[in-house]
């Protein structure tokens, strides 16, 4: 029987009177790659943010590795690597290197780990570039570097390859595949791209009518 690393039950969320989820239930299999699709405004980003602890649900339970994350978020935080809007989330006046170094201090990552993610994301040539002037592709790669520097068990990704070129997208797909196979990382990602779902996902869900359905 499959082991579930995340179990969401009866999740409710409304913003300013607009209901996004009435009673959402979802189980994410450990070491799987799961995609969630849906129209604009269907709640993909909100769902990712709720799982990451950046938005609190109105009701419902989120169990992460057996721990009630709705009550004890602090104890599951280290399990997550999160990429939401790679255009933000870094200090614009700091270089790529300084931003990664800061994150590595926070997660007590060894310098060898820092070198490893820099190499994996091919960031060597951009280390001195200020984040503010980085291209979208570099910003995406940096946000993945920051998300995996603590070797998370779960990687949450929102619209990861939006507005980046095919070559960079391909590299990111390969990395996600590698993280899932070699590091046994569970990946949950939101996307609009059917091709991306086909290439990466073991499981596919769709958000529609305030609920989530397996496809």
């Amino acid at each position: 029987m499959a082991e579930h690393i995340i179990e969401v039950s009866n999740l409710k969320k409304s913003f300013n009177g607009r209901t996004l989820f009435t009673s959402l239930n979802l189980k994410i299999e450990k070491q799987s790659v799961t995609a969630v699709t849906g129209k604009n405004g269907s709640g993909k980003t909100t769902l990712i943010k709720i799982l990451a602890g950046l938005i609190l649900p109105d009701a419902g339970k989120i169990i992460v590795s057996g721990v009630d994350a709705t009550r004890r978020r602090k104890s599951v935080k280290k399990m997550f690597g999160v990429v939401i809007n790679p255009e933000l989330g870094f200090y614009p006046q700091l270089s790529v290197y300084e931003n990664i170094k800061f994150i590595s201090y926070i997660y007590k990552a060894r310098s060898s780990m820092m070198d490893e993610v820099i190499e994996k994301l091919s960031l060597e040539d951009f280390l001195d570039t200020k984040f503010a002037v980085c291209s979208s592709g570099i910003k995406h790669r940096l946000s993945i570097a920051a998300a995996i520097i603590n070797k998370p068990e779960i990687l949450l990704l929102d619209e990861l390859t939006r507005s980046i070129d095919m070559e960079t997208s391909q590299k990111i797909y390969e990395l996600i595949g590698f993280l899932n196979k070699e590091s046994k990382t569970t990946v949950f990602f939101a996307t609009h791209d059917a091709n991306e779902v086909k290439k990466l996902a073991h499981f596919h869900y769709n958000l529609e009518n305030r609920d989530i359905n397996r496809i």
């Binding site: 602090k74 939401i84 989330g89 200090y91 614009p92 006046q93 300084e98 800061f102 201090y105």
Partner: protein
């Protein structure tokens, strides 16, 4: 040192490095104000300059305790980095405390600058006085940080609350007697002034610096208020963060 705190020190230094002359200009403008006061006081009295000098130093200490967190949160919102702070491992309130601790390095540098210019303007600083000044600054910062946490919570709730922060600081300056003795306030404000922990602290600080007199009850009042306020402020700030996370408005400013 704790790796997370070390990270915030590293971040602060990198940011400061990228705005190389910003801090120097800030110090210069503070010094410039002090020189203006010095020449104005030539027409009043030398004693009034001493009174004002230590009042202004006190005001800067209170500024750092009260407004640093608020300004840091606003800055993180502006850069779009505030959500990352929530993702960091550990307690969110502690993360916010770590965020501001490195900024107190700048208070230390400011105090050195004030002492230097004060000496140039004829104020004498014995070693004992210096120990008193830095000791007071360290304790007052801790005592008033709870109020800063509370104010940051209020401003996080209200958004665009910079003016509220500055209004609070200006009121404290006026009611606590930074620029003139509290006796000069309208009679109706005497009661409010007297119950403010900042008034008692400033009175203690001035006695300490001008007369080397340790008036313990005055400062004890502030310390007790601070100790009582800190846990309440932590609870309040945590609740405000929860509200912002529930509404999804943490990054809004």
């Amino acid at each position: 040192m704790n790796s997370k705190l070390l990270g915030f020190f590293y971040r602060e230094l990198c940011i400061e490095k990228s705005y190389k002359i910003n801090f120097a200009l800030k110090i210069f403008s503070l010094m410039f104000n002090l020189v203006i006061f010095y020449f104005l006081c030539k027409y009043i009295s030398r004693e009034y300059f001493y009174f004002l000098f230590f009042g202004i130093i006190f005001s800067r200490i209170i500024y750092y305790s009260l407004l640093t967190l608020n300004e840091a949160i606003r800055q993180e919102q502006y850069w779009g980095t505030i959500e990352r702070l929530i993702l960091f491992p550990g307690d969110e309130v502690l993360t916010h405390i770590y965020l501001i601790l490195p900024k107190f390095l700048f208070l230390f540098i400011e105090l050195i600058a004030y002492i230097s210019i004060g000496m140039l303007l004829g104020i004498s600083f014995t070693l004992q006085k210096l120990v008193y000044l830095f000791g007071f600054a360290a304790i007052a910062t801790i005592v008033f940080i709870g109020f800063g946490l509370f104010l940051a919570g209020v401003i996080l709730l209200l958004k665009r609350g910079d003016s509220l922060g500055w209004l609070t600081l200006s009121l404290i300056d006026i009611l606590s007697g930074v620029y003139f003795p509290t006796d000069a306030l309208p009679r109706q404000l005497h009661g409010i002034s007297a119950i403010l922990p900042t008034t008692r602290s400033l009175s203690f600080f001035r006695s300490l610096m001008l007369e080397s007199k340790i008036d313990t009850p005055d400062f004890l009042f502030a310390i007790v208020t601070g100790i009582l306020t800190l846990p309440l402020s932590v609870v309040f700030f945590r609740s405000v963060l929860k509200i912002a996370l529930k509404k999804g408005t943490l990054g809004h400013y």
